[in-house]
Symmetry: C2
């Protein structure tokens, strides 16, 4: 950044100026984007079905600026939306992004945020086709809407899981939640003694899970390669238990989940124990892993059973059997969907 740019501030630039500045940096990756930002609306060509999903992220609720690098925040804001499109077995293609920015943010800060946005868009070949920027009285509010496309026959809903289907999860769970716990602990230490350096070196994996999660594009590509169509799918944003409930409720089925099958990274496990939290609880109720949870017909199991990215954690049952966690001693406990209630926190 040049010195001249350093002394431009948001107030001088104004909303139109800021929008111009960002628009100039926007690249296009999609042939379907006929017209991007700059008119009343963007124009998108479509021969398939369109998927649409939206998320709002609010400072102080979804992220804490005292430990969130802005570039990571921009990246994550896009990723959480793309994850919803992948969870339909579809390909994200365009986003719109709106920001409410309070006066504490500098132009340099907003540029950093957008650097993260652009990086996520480049990685997933997604076009920014519109947005809005406005001032607000407090904090930072981010609202992103993602569009995707898919052939109608490929789209996977939450509602088609069938009895005896296998329940599969990608990656491992609970890491993002334990990363958040570490960041919050170090923040408290720092508040009590600002000379203390945060101790974060032992937590690289779970910190990345929290601050810079990834959307599982690779799993969607794997389905194509292996010619598998899941019977139902959802992304894990509110915690495994909550998402299992969504699938079971939408599909009108029950489920058995095996505690000892739930994939947990050793770093997540160790940190959870250090925090006196049962690692299974972290995996079941910690959110923001952005892994994919899906069901497949048993006939497809052969195709995926040796893939280290995927773990079978249970199977779908009749609705009357309920939604149960099978413990290590074959104990059967009804699962509870805790999830998040921001209004209550």
């Amino acid at each position: 950044m040049s010195e001249e740019e350093n002394i431009i501030n948001l107030k001088d630039l104004g909303e139109f100026g800021l929008i111009d500045r960002i628009t100039k940096k926007i690249k296009s990756y999609q042939n379907s984007t006929l017209l991007g930002p700059g008119d009343d609306a963007a124009i998108i060509k479509s021969e398939k079905n369109i998927l649409i999903s939206t998320d709002m992220l609010v400072e102080g609720i979804h992220f804490d600026m005292s430990f969130t690098p802005l570039k990571h925040l921009g990246y994550k804001s896009v990723i959480v939306n793309l994850s919803d499109i992948y969870a339909m077995n579809a390909t994200p293609s365009q986003i719109t992004i709106s920001l409410g920015i309070s006066s504490k943010y500098t132009l340099e800060a907003i540029d950093e945020f957008y650097d993260g946005v652009f990086l996520a868009c480049e990685k997933h070949s997604v076009d920014i086709v519109g947005g809005d920027i406005t001032s607000c009285l407090n904090g930072l509010t981010i609202s992103i809407t993602a569009l995707g496309e898919a052939n109608p026959k490929d789209i996977v809903r939450r509602s088609e899981a069938k009895e005896n289907d296998l329940l599969i999860v990608s990656g491992d769970l609970g890491g993002a939640y334990m990363g958040l716990n570490v960041l919050q602990r170090e923040k408290e230490v720092w508040k009590n003694n600002p000379n203390m350096q945060p101790e974060l070196d032992d937590f690289n994996y779970i910190l990345e899970r929290q601050l810079k999660p990834e959307a599982r594009k690779d799993i969607i590509e794997l389905f194509k390669d292996l010619e598998i169509k899941p019977t139902s799918m959802i992304d894990i944003s509110d915690g495994l238990a909550s998402e299992i409930f969504h699938i079971c409720k939408s599909s009108n089925v029950g489920c058995q989940v095996y505690e000892n099958k739930i994939p947990i990274d050793p770093e997540t496990y160790k940190t959870s124990m250090d925090f006196n939290t049962n690692p299974t609880v972290s995996a079941l109720n910690g959110g923001e892993d952005y892994e994919l949870l899906f069901t497949i017909n048993q006939k497809d199991y052969e195709k995926i059973k040796n893939d280290p990215k995927l773990t079978a954690i249970g199977h779908i049952t009749n609705k009357d059997q309920g939604i149960n966690l099978i413990g290590n001693g074959d104990t059967v406990t009804p699962l509870k969907a805790q999830g998040w209630n921001h209004f209550n926190s």
Copy 2:
């Protein structure tokens, strides 16, 4: 509302509960909506081109809760987004709506807001296909993304105005801005003396222009009936002058605008004079009228010249002639685009 409902509050209900409550009230009007809210993403069938536009509205910046009825706010929030779709000569079809809600809002207040949203959707046959609800630390933040559809050949951009085209505006201008002035004046009076009743009876038209604006669906339908395709079009959200600049800049042309042609309602005119503001300035720089500003080839003028909803206010010139306001004594003044800069207010 039953007594039982009266005592449910947002905290008890939680985000999932609130989303469920609102989702149950959502109706569908569009055959193209294959799947609405309730999955990771909505599914939209598309054989035409898709238009997409988004706006964020922030309490304290875009609206003042001390004089904005929540039902009107819900209505207006949808309308300002649909207006962008109509401004492409397209038909709005779906929206997503995200809310950040602080603890000062009751469940009843949010229900009122959504009543306005539903009313606007019903009036314009638009489906709500997704959204997000989250708590936030202060105020109310509304982010809406609107989708529309159009045949590729019908879409009107900002960028195709040609020399000698006529510049036309729908309805009348400056009313929403003067309505805001009246509301702000009465708020000050009330703050100084809470026993004073606001005097609003003489301002019905301009108050409605501010609080419950309409998107000009009728003008788009008129174009179809008359077989007119404007050469360029934009909706007036930031003020006539600002929008003229957008069209001229995008189309690489100049413009002559005739001061005595600018349509101003008598109530707007009188109120503007009472506030010691030149009514032309209110029309040029006051925003939020949500009228359509467009250009047509002169050959189409016969078709619309007797329509009381439309007024020719100028014509497009060569870029070198600049963008000028022709005053009442044939004075020529370069037009200035003031518009809004919320970062500066």
